[in-house]
């Protein structure tokens, strides 16, 4: 009845008590990777203001500036810190916007997957019976499609149906939707397995005896104990979604041309690779590796840090 009053979130309460911060300071790898992640996130958020050029404004491009190497190179141009691509676009500006796109797609698609998979997996594991069978068969069905294949199918059809212009307006959202809906079974299956193990533990029985409603037991009692595998999958999925977006953009059905993404940039840089223009593909590649590595390292640390068994006595 009144449980809503008690919904201050767990992670935030821990952070407020400075335990997380102290643990972060003690772990150098986690500290460095969270700083990198934070920097990448901030630059991505501020990309429109930070970047020297706007990649979507064609008037700022000059074909005469095409294929310039990075500024430190002897043939480089000081206007283009990381060089330019084959169309004379500033690589740094594209990179900042590309990180922004990749993070944006990765974040929302994973949030969608996570929500869907968590709700379905929790219900399947906790209620069992026909609900369990239905959800798991749906998951099996979904898993028979490769998510990338599904994305190609849906994106190609909508593109044909909408026409190129409308498609470019909607494609970022379509991409999030398709990538978000395609990968829920992994979360649902893992969570179901954890819930099956947790729900026969005594604390769940104790919670039932205390007269909590099922929703409360599922969300407030069982879910916190099954969070770590979910966290691992979610971070791996951020990487997976960013890569899928990169692959789709590489294939030409992901992000529209005016909207640079890391995958699209690597895709276009790939053509120049063999002719010695290494920077066009390398720069977004480095950014992608940094992004994924820092996300995974931070998540790995977070999983350990959130396990209460890992904090010592508090005195």
């Amino acid at each position: 009845m009144n449980a809503a009053k008690y919904h201050g979130h767990h992670i935030w309460r821990r952070f407020r008590r400075q335990q997380l911060w102290l643990q972060l300071k003690a772990n150098k790898v986690a500290l460095i990777s969270s700083v990198i992640l934070l920097l990448l996130t901030v630059t991505a958020l501020l990309a429109p203001w930070l970047s020297p050029f706007d990649p979507s404004v064609l008037q700022q491009q000059n074909i005469m500036d095409a294929e310039l190497p990075p500024a430190w190179h002897e043939q480089g141009d000081s206007r283009f810190l990381l060089g330019t691509d084959g169309l004379g676009r500033d690589l740094l500006s594209s990179l900042l916007h590309g990180i922004r796109t990749s993070l944006w797609v990765g974040f929302w698609a994973v949030l969608l997957q996570l929500t869907l998979g968590t709700v379905l997996g929790l219900c399947a594991g906790y209620f069992g019976g026909w609900m369990d069978r239905l959800v798991m068969r749906l998951a099996d069905f979904q898993l028979t499609f490769s998510s990338l294949m599904l994305a190609i199918l849906v994106l190609a059809i909508t593109r044909a149906a909408m026409g190129a212009h409308d498609y470019h307006v909607w494609s970022p959202w379509l991409l999030i939707l398709v990538l978000g809906l395609a990968d829920w079974p992994q979360y649902a299956r893992t969570l179901r397995a954890s819930v099956l193990a947790e729900k026969h533990k005594d604390y769940v029985a104790a919670a039932q005896v205390l007269g909590y409603r099922s929703r409360h037991i599922m969300v407030m009692q069982i879910l916190p104990n099954t969070l770590s595998p979910l966290l691992v999958i979610a971070t791996l999925q951020v990487a997976h979604v960013i890569l899928a977006e990169a692959a789709l953009s590489f294939l030409g059905i992901g992000m529209p041309y005016g909207n640079p993404s890391l995958g699209g940039m690597m895709g276009s840089g790939f053509e120049y690779m063999l002719s010695g223009l290494w920077w066009i593909a390398l720069m977004p590649g480095i950014a992608l590796v940094l992004l994924l590595l820092s996300i995974n390292l931070v998540a790995d640390w977070l999983r350990d840090a959130l396990d209460p068994k890992n904090i010592g006595p508090q005195q």
Binding site: A3, H10, D202, Y203, A206, L210, P308
Partner: protein, 341 residues
């Protein structure tokens, strides 16, 4: 004492409760595991339920609060609590009874608290989910209850996770949690089995005192007769899904009438001389499906005679005692010739 009590003091009344487990195979019969359990509990009374493993003690507890396993079913009988038949309530109505009116303390304190939430979070969740008070007030209630169960430095302890506390402290905390909602009945299912011996007496006396002081009735489930001897007003002896003897604890221990109760008392270690081997009841409790039309204890009973194998014993009610045994029932008691071995 029971003669002078007004009807309104009756808190819990279990009548002829049969619980069976539905078999997975259609051709197999369903087996009654609780076979006609009846007893009453007055407000504020401390009642002990004693029996060996598999007698159905915990099953009785879970069928009182209607949290039976999905394969178990109440086939017959009623559980009246504060004027309501719990077997007839909807799950929504039951939630108002569980925790709020009936609290429960489990066997192993290390596993019945959520390992991922602090004590404070769990206590506050428990209080706020049932009572319409503010967080600050709930916190005061929680602190007060933790002090009542003698947890040192409750302010600090509240912020800790279960693994940071000792088993004894955790069991105190679960008692505090059960008491925090001011229920009318606390069911303690072997509350000290997981604790070491020095802790047992302390926890039991804490539990009984707190229940007594707060006017809470206690149903104390145990396999240890000596443990409950001092901690209960009345005692139920359970065997193979039935209550074989019930009465006031003192008189029951001093003057046990059912052969099973007598054997239980003889089996207590302190009843043996040093160096002598401990007494044990021969044989095993029969499986529920093996029980035919006979006394469930007949195969282990020293006094069993013809009648014991032919019909289940009826309940003999004397002034303060109920015994289910042919020996005690004047109608079926053996003639001197039959009782000769």
């Amino acid at each position: 004492m029971s003669l002078h009590l007004k009807p309104s003091t009756r808190l819990l009344s279990v009548r002829d409760l049969h619980v069976n487990f539905t078999s997975r195979w259609p051709q197999e019969p369903n087996i009654d595991v609780l076979r006609g359990v009846s007893f009453q509990l007055e407000r504020g009374e401390r009642l002990a339920l004693v029996g060996e493993s598999g007698a159905g003690k915990s099953l009785l507890a879970t069928s009182i609060i209607q949290l039976l396993d999905s394969s178990a079913r109440i086939r017959q009988g009623s559980v009246h609590f504060e004027g309501q038949d719990l077997t007839q309530l909807s799950s929504k109505q039951l939630r108002q009874v569980r925790g709020r009116r009936i609290g429960m303390v489990f066997q192993d304190p290390m596993t019945n608290l959520n390992p991922n939430l602090t004590l404070e979070q769990q206590l506050l969740q428990c209080i706020l989910s049932h009572r319409n008070i503010s967080r600050a007030e709930a916190r005061l209630v929680a602190l007060h209850k933790l002090r009542q169960v003698h947890i040192p430095a409750p302010e600090t302890r509240m912020r800790q996770y279960p693994h940071q506390l000792s088993a004894g402290q955790l069991q105190r905390a679960t008692i505090a949690m059960a008491l925090a909602l001011e229920p009318a009945l606390i069911i303690a299912d072997e509350p000290t089995s997981a604790l070491d011996v020095t802790m047992q007496a302390e926890i039991i006396s804490l539990l009984t005192h707190l229940c007594h002081n707060n006017g809470v009735a206690l149903l104390l489930i145990s396999h240890d007769l000596s443990l409950v001897a001092h901690a209960s007003d009345r005692c139920l002896i359970m065997y193979a899904g039935q209550i074989v003897e019930q009465g006031h604890t003192k008189s029951l221990i001093n003057d046990a009438q059912h052969p099973y109760t007598q054997s239980l008392i003889r089996a207590l270690p302190q009843m043996s001389e040093p160096g002598q081997s401990l007494y044990q009841i021969p044989g095993q409790m029969p499986f529920a499906q093996e029980l035919g039309n006979q006394c469930a204890f007949a195969n282990r009973c020293e006094h069993a005679y013809a009648a014991c194998w032919n019909q289940p014993p009826a309940r003999t009610v004397t002034l303060e005692r109920e015994v289910s045994c042919h020996l005690v029932n004047p109608a079926t008691a053996p003639t001197p010739a039959e009782s000769e071995p």
